[in-house]
């Protein structure tokens, strides 16, 4: 073997994925840690968001001595080929199919009552190799592979978790982000990012977490002290270091006129209705403060209670224009 070839082989062995940092020999078409296309130039928007890496159909990820193949484009399937020493855990409603020999057991979770109250799955299910088992969700979107390194901790919005490898520790915490609305005599408490969030971390060996987002996924890294406003229901995941709080924004410049109301056909009534509706108009955001990564999904639901009369809320900033 020539010296040049040796150098080339050495360089290939040191290939580091620009998305997840996993080291590999670079001889495959996709990163074994997250499935990103090898040597792909990261696609970054002008504003600094990085698109989830272009993952080719049938990309193969490796964890332990097992493999995961991501299949499809609109609602991708995570097809696991588990070795006999490996296991994964998941919420049971994401199971698509499995081979009969794959053994399934319950994974005990502490705080079942809290999870029940929060509408989260009380039982987590564990699958043990050897054999194939596949998972998918029920909306068009992207499957995001999050390799977790020792010491790293990632917070994930409820209901987007698909499956994690057995090495990953699973926990959850109260978000502390809430507001109450009042209608007649009823007071209702709303949790715009959920009452609980999932937290994934590993102690020693690296692990893998798969999420499924609605629509497309964008990630950016916030510097210390840097902040950004996102729709609460668009949040997908964040590093544990990223802090979040509510942010109310009151638009300015609302100048309805008597003339405008009259031109609208219902005269003063139209104008009064205009003023009444716009009075107290505000936008509800989630403010994310760095340092750390944050990710959003492009399809998101309206925030429940957003347009109601807010009577109290967790810590929040307020901006009036």
């Amino acid at each position: 073997m020539s010296a040049n070839m040796n150098q080339a082989a050495s360089a290939q062995r040191n290939y580091t994925c620009s998305w997840c940092g996993t080291a590999s020999d670079g001889t495959r078409l996709s990163c074994p840690g997250c499935g990103a296309t090898v040597n792909v130039k990261n696609i970054v928007t002008d504003s600094g968001w990085t698109e989830a890496p272009g993952r080719k159909d049938m990309a193969v990820l490796q964890f332990g001595s097992s493999y995961c193949q991501i299949e499809g484009k609109y609602v991708p399937v995570a097809d696991m080929n588990l070795s006999k020493d490996d296991s994964v855990y998941f919420a049971h409603h994401v199971l698509l199919w499995k081979e009969p020999q794959v053994n399934i057991t319950n994974l005990p979770i502490k705080g079942a009552w809290k999870r029940l109250m929060a509408g989260l799955p009380v039982i987590m299910t564990q699958a043990h190799g050897p054999g194939h088992i596949a998972f998918s969700r029920d909306v068009p979107g992207e499957t995001v592979a999050l390799p977790i390194q020792p010491g790293q901790s990632v917070d994930v919005r409820e209901h987007v978790f698909v499956v994690a490898t057995g090495q990953v520790n699973y926990g959850f915490f109260q978000t502390g982000v809430w507001f109450t609305t009042k209608k007649d005599d009823e007071t209702e408490t709303h949790y715009p990012v959920g009452y609980l969030m999932d937290r994934f971390s590993v102690a020693q060996a690296p692990g893998l977490v798969l999420l499924h987002a609605s629509g497309n996924v964008f990630v950016r890294k916030l510097n210390p002290g840097q902040s950004i406003l996102v729709k609460p229901t668009a949040l997908l995941f964040k590093d544990q270091t990223v802090q979040m709080q509510l942010y109310f924004e009151h638009p300015g410049g609302n100048t309805p006129t008597v003339l405008g109301g009259a031109a609208g056909g219902l005269g003063l009534l139209g104008n009064i209705a205009n003023v009444m509706a716009s009075f107290g108009q505000r936008y509800l955001w989630l403010q994310l403060n760095g340092p750390g990564r944050v990710a959003v999904q492009s399809a998101f639901e309206p925030v429940e209670g957003e347009n109601g009369t807010i009577t109290s809320n967790s810590q929040a900033l307020r901006q009036r224009w």
Partner: protein, 273 residues
Amino acid sequence: MTVSAEPLQRVVCQWCQTQNERTATSCRACGAPLDIKDLVSESGWREAPRIKDMTEIHFGNSQCQVEGDIVPVAEMQMAPGDSVIFEHHVMLWKDPAVAMSILSLQGGAKRMLAGMPFIISVATGPGRIAFSRDATGELVVLPLHPGMELDVREHAFLLASHHINYSFVRIKGLRNILFGGQGMYMDRFVTTDVPGLLILHGYGNVFERTLKQGESIIIEPGAFLYKDSSVTMDVETQKLTTGLFGGTAMNLARMTGPGRVGIQSMYVHHNTE
């Protein structure tokens, strides 16, 4: 000093007719790929251009970047003084510095009674703000030239530049209101002196065809996305009988030219029985 003998060459976008530099690969005004021919079905429907990921579109002194291909995001980089209007539920994220205000609308009570968005928000640069909707689909970029009038299904517009006048028109005819599947009103966008940018979000895929004077096409009301104001819309009831067991009826929309009609491939049946 020498003068170049090369003629000034321009590439005309087949979607919006904007002239672009010869080396451009996507239209600067609507983002349509310039290296792909118009895709027109045998029946005459033209596919809205598949805007490539990360394509940049220019309007005024500002830019819009289209990101993603499942539920695309329109990310605006607003220049000082430029602004866009939108319904507030389509905001995805923004810089804290982007100023927010409300568009003063005429006929507030009418809109309230019709269930239309009562508040149209305005974001003014400088800064960045991004928009997306809640389901799989396509962004349709429609640069509006002076004198154009476009009617859009309610809630389907993602954003419009401040150069465009926004209003709404009542759908004519009680049958159209009750069975047309559009509600009582449609959004109307009109340009005056300066070209403007209008971005719609269509569920599924979007197709357009241009009807000649007097030419008609019948469509499912839930699929209607936009039309030139010159196109008229009427409900047609199709009776479906099943012998002794009676029957049912379906309501369809007859669109009559001249002008463009845009439809979306993913829709909801409204009042078809």
